[in-house]
Amino acid sequence: MDISYNVNGDDFTRAGEASSKFKKALKQVGFDAEIIRRVTIAMYEAEINMVIHAHGGVIDCKITPEKIELWFRDKGPGIENIDLAMKEGYSTAPDNVRSLGFGAGMGLPNIKKYTDEMKIETELGVGTTVYIAVNV
């Protein structure tokens, strides 16, 4: 099963809509609650990142009998230093994002924590693709 979502980058209040919809879809398929939670937390963090850093993008989701895979593709500024970005507490988010409850530097480490596989491809000035997979 394949599903795609467009993430609007201009409206922070709507960030998380795609994750919320995908969570409902996973529930309908009947996945285990813990699997659903891991996938949707990772997806939500990545979706928030797309809105904060990259003016939105596209999320492609693929459900197979073995795993749930997601690709987050954006045309944002790219990640300058992936090692630093993966460090807990490191954040380049502006102060206004912190006042909204995000930007604590936990996004990427959190995505890694909840998934079985995570890959980041990024090019400065071109964009970033984050791939994640959770085994079912």
Binding site: F12, T13, K23, Y44, I48, L100, G101, F102, M106
Partner: protein, 112 residues
């Protein structure tokens, strides 16, 4: 502890989800940083926060939480209430500050 007891202990108003007050909660967390809630919370079903935006409800939804308590008398906006109703999440509002609200619940046996 039921959500009804939480409501009494915190002298709270129920903003939405009046029909779900018999839900049992065992653990809670208090934070204004949703990033931290997503990173450190496990099996907590009650969120106390002073933050006011729809991401609070979305965060609670992703974590399978049953109830959000807004501390310091903050009034949730219509979009927040609508989203919480749609997700079957109980919303409460207490005049207590974060520290006091958490302290009272902890004292009454709720774990962190």
């Amino acid at each position: 502890m039921t959500l009804k007891e939480v409501c009494e202990i915190l002298e709270a108003n129920v903003v939405c989800g009046q029909d779900n007050l018999d839900i049992e909660v065992k653990m809670a967390c208090g934070s204004d940083m949703m990033s931290d809630v997503l990173a450190f919370v496990k099996n907590q079903s009650l969120l106390l926060t002073g933050l006011q935006n729809p991401q609070v409800v979305r965060t609670a939804d992703m974590m399978d939480m049953h109830c959000i308590v807004f501390v310091r008398g903050k009034e949730p906006t219509e979009d927040i209430i609508e989203l919480a109703c749609d997700r079957d999440i109980v919303l409460m509002q207490t005049p207590l500050r974060m520290f006091t609200a958490c302290g009272r619940l902890y004292d009454a046996g709720l774990k962190g």
